[in-house]
Symmetry: C2
Subunit: 359 residues, 2 copies
């Protein structure tokens, strides 16, 4: 099981790796008059990297420990640590772009990167541009970190290939996430299918499937076996995680998430919760939900009313049931793995961190 030492090592290594990548090196000549802005972007890269729960990095390490023999755990730990950090750096870059796309002011309780950079340069346009470039830099940095880590491991080509596949899947997922916003509201079943499909691409891909796969590949599994196991365990787990995250947006507090409660509703996002609410609603409730979502923006009263409808239509309970079933599916695959009971336990506890709501 990961100790607090894992977390500490992940935190300090992320800062080292990100700083090294985004800071112009001693032999990189940058014009003095531009250095201030370059330094501000480098500082923001570190600030944006702080504050994550590091669930993905922890899962990468624990997946490695589950499948590697003891000698490999000792010899290859540092390389796998870097690979674990690469997943976190990738996420940070993806969130920087996500906040630009969603026009979000806050991330993890602090100003989003493009807002902070707009503030620092006294220009919304330049902040927006620097935010896009910061996201690009973190994405490249993540591949660079993963590539260097993979070079120190066997199956290195498979690791780099899987890392690039993860990038591609999340990018397709973000496209699908925007596509869902164009879905009609009069087909709740279609909306459930589409939303769960988006979760597979934009969330499960890098949150659970890829960390499990990286750990297995680093432990020496062949590519096909690693992919199959990672999908079988990680896909239901990743869906459960996103459903729980969406639920937290409705029933949680802004203290827990660093975001105001009901943020998804305020943005008019089409979620599984909304689809389940439309599905379980009577005619009056359904008309009310559609009115709220089709309005150009939503008042605080409408946000509260939507949450009330999510409860009264059974959507919140339905999400709890979905999460429970998905978590059981994930656990049952872990039970069938050809590893010792201790290691099954280790992996199950690592996976349980993604669904504190039921586990």
């Amino acid at each position: 099981m990961s100790s607090s030492t894992d977390l500490e090592q992940i935190e300090s290594r992320i800062v080292e790796l990100v700083k090294d990548f985004v800071t112009p090196h001693a032999d990189d000549a940058v014009a003095p008059s531009c250095k201030g802005v370059a330094d501000a972007v480098a500082r923001q890269a570190v600030v944006s990297s702080e504050g994550g729960k590091r669930l993905r990095a922890l899962l990468t390490l624990d997946s490695f420990r589950t499948f590697a023999d003891d000698a490999a755990v000792a010899a290859d730990f540092d390389a796998v640590l870097d690979l674990a950090c690469a997943v976190e750096v990738f996420q940070t870059g993806a969130l920087v772009h996500d906040d630009i796309i969603d026009d979000s002011d806050l991330r993890r309780g602090k100003p989003s990167a493009h807002r902070a950079l707009a503030c620092g340069t006294h220009s919304d346009a330049i902040g927006h541009g620097l935010g896009i470039m910061l996201g690009d830099m973190l994405a490249t940095s993540s591949v660079d970190i993963a590539n260097r880590a993979a070079r120190r491991l066997s199956h290195c080509d498979d690791v780099v290939g899987a890392f690039l596949t993860m990038h591609r899947e999340v990018e397709i997922g973000q496209v699908l996430d925007l596509a869902v916003e164009l879905n009609p509201l009069n087909d709740p079943e279609g909306l459930v299918d589409a939303s769960l499909n988006v979760f597979r691409w934009k969330t499960a891909s890098y949150t659970t499937i890829a960390p499990l796969e990286f750990g297995m590949l680093a432990a020496g599994s062949d590519a096909a076996t690693a992919r199959d196991h990672a999908m079988a365990i990680g896909l239901p787990l990743g869906l459960a995680f996103q459903l729980a995250d969406d639920l937290l947006d409705v029933v949680g507090s802004s203290h827990n998430t660093g975001k105001p409660v009901g943020g998804d509703i305020r943005e008019g996002k089409r979620t599984v919760l909304l689809a389940d609410a439309l599905s379980g609603a009577n005619a009056t409730e359904r008309a009310e939900l559609i009115d709220i979502w089709e309005a150009p923006s939503r008042s605080e009263e409408q946000v509260r009313q939507a949450i009330t409808l999510f409860a009264s239509t059974g959507a919140i309970e339905r999400s709890h049931d979905r999460i429970h079933d998905l978590w059981n599916a994930s656990k049952s695959v872990i039970d069938t793995l050809d590893v010792s009971d201790d290691r099954k336990e280790l992996l199950a506890m690592a996976c349980a961190r993604f669904v504190p709501i039921v586990a």
Copy 2:
């Protein structure tokens, strides 16, 4: 020397590679209701990939031919062709983001990607988001293509490392390009230095240095030698290329560039041309230039007046001189290379494509 066959092979291979990456594969389940948007993004990836002059890919191939022995040229050509295409795909992705940052309507004479996607989805916000993701997808695709190509070559780790360095340098360059916009106009020498420094990062890096380096690495050069030669030839060549491109923006026609004449001036960009004009201007001319650039926007008459001032202050002639000197610096390094005269000639002609204005 590259024949038209090089160009034809580059064009058709780019389309194959981009389509393969951006299109969800047969085993990638995408929800039916989201497929239309995913397909639109995939189509736009191909459309955005069309219409480049492919100078970077051609230079990669000719650099390879200059340094490789005949057996390697035959055996490794297909892998180097893919590597050459990867540089073009990288550029396409960078331009998609650049057009979002600059809020540009046109690229290569067609609607910019985010504008086309906004039109297709009837939403500026969704077009903007899809444009950011398309740029991300093309960036990942370029690394994926380069990584697969490198695996088929010797020195494969050096090739992947150099490819990621290129990404990083251009990303830093785009940050510096935004930083220059905050530079004061009362220090023309500082502005010249800063602008040339930006050209090194955002243009020379991937336009000339990296293609030369990739060709040399693919031909079997060690990493340090390849980098040194690529910098010595490619840095002055890349600066000359960008100066010539900026000059074309002022003296060219929109038929040549696919962009309206004076676009940089209209945007109020701080260029070497502007810095040279400020440097060579008398007090009246300088005040006039500063007024034009500090205005919130520029009229067509002001654009014409700025071009007149670029000529009367000697800035246009100064740019011609700079381009000439830089091209001579690049050529003189080619002359010192330890390859046959035929091959020096081949490389010089490949480099000359970047500066048709003097070569």
